[in-house]
Symmetry: C2
Subunit: 464 residues, 2 copies
């Protein structure tokens, strides 16, 4: 069927944005064979005219499919179908898309269980739009503040106080464009060639950000209580860690180790980078004090809106001891490099209307439920399930590297994307298993995907 | 008068946003003595309730005044008046603000004639709001593209083709969060300790961004035709320059030097960083080919929306030779450091609706008129006025460093902020004068401020 004749009927009463409806219809058409690899699509302008929608709608739909890899385009020569989606991919639950060409789900969906994805299901689109509209009312500034928009900074301080128990002064806070951007700025303030200890296994992108600034990264041992503070080497310039929910193992740094880490930092003069990437989520366990609360003089605290809301805002924050804060701010002023203020305005508006607090409540309820379902799914597999007291991912241990590879491969063949713990090691792996992120997938796709993984895990343990 | 009793009357038919009206009224109250230093203001919530507006409006007004330095606030203890504005500061032209408490302008305004400020007068607020609302409709992404939002990249390629005559492929383009952020990323890809030549006088923030990455910056001579390509030293890893409108001198790099620079770059294997910060503006002169068009294999092109629109979006772009592009993208993927997507969506929506092209036409008309007025104001002073063929600032030469200091000081006393050419030298100054930025100030404040500077310049030359 020529692409121009595709029957796409939009439902304007559907709460889903028109762009999503158009993207779904095109994806379905490719899945059903109505569109084939190599077919050329109408221009966004022509399709918009035919459907009676703005070109923004069709362009957004094409962008989504370009980003997903189903389409490829070249300016001047059009947009082409490059791959047929596995059937059922991103198809909404039954009957909600009356206009889309039907594509019965005969092959499994691609479901991404990577750790660290945002839970878009918990995001209220009406609140999201309201925040952007409020941001639109702010007069554009001639020169944005290097430390971040004043209102953003105020809303972050309030968020930290209410949800993380951290009392910070405005003079300690900097807006960032994300966690590793903050790590990079701090790394630039450390002497070239200094040594930084980073959890092993750990967040390799933070390691890359440190190395990219010319620092040397050495492994720091972790166990079920987080970082082994007693086994940190001496001579460190800094320690990077994830105390709220060790990435990727999921353990929480115990209270005595928190105190010990801050004491060692003071005694030995090193800086602690506390990455609190998903610290807002916690289940059935008492809160532990932030390192930044115990040692505001030696801890740089890093937070982000990426897991909490969505990486689409591109905003994070950094609370630093005053001397470090001044150095970071001075570099920004000297170089004019500063985080983009646009997403900060949206975040501030979300906070201002109370939508951020409402979102957090919804997110916690949703993740509490999802976590219960995931833990139950693995209950009969014989595998140790750990790291589920906080955050949006947990860890399922496996007996060997071979078992880890087998589970990842098997899941991949069934359309389920999984990360093995091997990925998070900078040195030969010492812990084997998979990280199961349960925040990211649309709610109705989670259970079937987890069931696939649980069955593979069960087989791995019974074979072992 | 207690702050709570301030008579603030808002005009909802006024095209100026309510937040601006509230800020103006408070500023006027401080200027007229109705509010005094040390007075505590109502909370944003209480003031919003009294005025019958949303708290967003009052919070934005307070933020504006906090950013301008008239107020100071501390969480929990309220917001206080810390300074009385010079009367007339940012007061709009006569009679447009019926509700604001009157504050007759008896002292001169503070007018900022720094180079590189955006021309907010040319920005259509309705189009601005429309773009943000359109951005609000985009579904938030689970994982933004490291190279930038696909639609943003498309709109930038279109902009470069239409307005800068540059044909670039999507595979060459990266979104950035601004010009010096792009410089910093490129610098990180050069071998540590490499030598980069930068125009002298030149953009010192770019020099700082290069040095912050461990590179050595050496001066490159400039004259009335831009960079002296024949006097570049050998052994360079890169050359940073501003060919469209040399910053700060304002000269345009001549066609033969453009060709020569690209040829030397190819012969000697160095990279050229072409900073095209205000290349969209040009008056009464023919366009010259971009370096990136002459030498796409050896030139990294840097652009920004900061001068074109406003730094509030925090978006820029970078067109790089494929090999460099791949290296920069690989670092982003490895570290997860990427520019915030929020402002990219707004820029793309502005472009999509045709508002960006309309804005450019308005901006050119406005700056053409302003430039004529400024050139005329300096006509009788005896000072050479140069660098006015492009951009949003020109240069007025002075006979000595002492004359430069005298003009800057005199202007400062009259409430006019000016940058001297001395500021842009990394070595002892060789050119004396001031840079006059005419894009930034509100239109009605430009002529009086320029008249002050012109009189000071006239005196400097007649004394010399």
């Amino acid at each position: 069927m020529p692409a121009d004749d595709l029957p796409i009927v939009l439902d304007r009463d559907d709460p889903e944005p028109l762009a999503v409806q158009v993207a779904d219809a095109l994806r379905s058409a490719a899945g059903s064979g109505a569109l084939r690899v190599g077919d050329r699509l109408s221009s966004t302008r022509a399709l918009a005219a035919r459907l009676g929608v703005s070109r923004t709608v069709t362009a957004a739909a094409y962008d989504q499919l370009l980003a997903e890899g189903w389409l490829a385009g070249r300016r001047g020569s059009g947009t082409f179908v490059t791959a047929a989606p596995r059937r059922g991919h991103r198809q909404p639950a039954g009957g909600r898309r009356p206009g889309a060409t039907a594509a019965p789900a005969r092959e499994p969906a691609v479901v991404d269980l990577a750790a660290g994805r945002p839970c878009l299901d918990a995001l209220d689109r009406a609140a999201w739009r309201r925040a952007w509209r409020a941001a639109a009312e702010r007069p554009p500034t001639r020169e944005p503040a290097y430390a971040g928009h004043p209102e953003f900074r105020r809303s972050v301080l309030d968020h930290l106080l209410r949800h993380r128990g951290l009392t910070a002064e405005p003079e300690q806070l900097l807006a960032t464009s994300g966690t590793t951007a903050g790590v990079s700025e701090i790394a630039a303030a450390l002497p070239a060639g200094s040594v930084v200890a980073l959890e092993e296994p750990g967040y390799r992108r933070a390691a890359a950000a440190l190395q990219e600034r010319g620092l040397r990264v050495v492994p720091a041992a972790v166990d079920g209580n987080g970082l082994r503070v007693d086994r940190l080497p001496t001579g460190l310039a800094a320690v990077y860690c994830t105390p709220a929910h060790q990435f990727p193992l999921g353990s929480r740094l115990s209270a005595d180790r928190r105190v010990a880490l801050v004491e060692r930092a003071r005694a030995e003069g090193f800086l602690v980078l506390e990455d609190d990437y998903d610290g807002e989520m916690r289940y059935d366990v008492a809160p532990l004090p932030l390192l930044a609360a115990l040692g505001p003089d030696v801890v740089a605290y890093l937070g982000t809106s990426s897991k909490l809301l969505t990486p689409a805002l591109g905003v994070g924050w950094l609370v630093a001891p005053p001397e470090l804060h001044s150095r970071l701010l001075a570099v920004r002023e000297r170089t004019s490099i500063r985080p983009s203020p646009a997403g900060q305005l949206v975040f501030a508006a979300l906070a201002e209307y109370g939508d951020l607090a409402r979102h957090l409540r919804r997110l916690r309820a949703e993740l509490t439920d999802r976590r219960r379902r995931v833990v139950e799914a693995f209950a009969g597999t014989g595998a140790p399930v750990l790291g589920d007291a906080a955050g949006g991912h947990l860890r399922v241990d496996l007996p060997s590297a071979a078992a880890e590879a087998a589970v990842i491969d098997g899941a991949g063949r069934a359309g389920v994307l999984l990360a093995g713990l091997g990925e998070y090691h900078g040195h030969p792996a010492t812990v084997f298993g998979v990280s199961v992120g349960y925040a990211g997938p649309p709610g109705n796709q989670l259970d079937p995907a987890v069931a696939v993984v649980a069955e593979l895990v069960r087989r791995a343990w019974s074979a072992g």
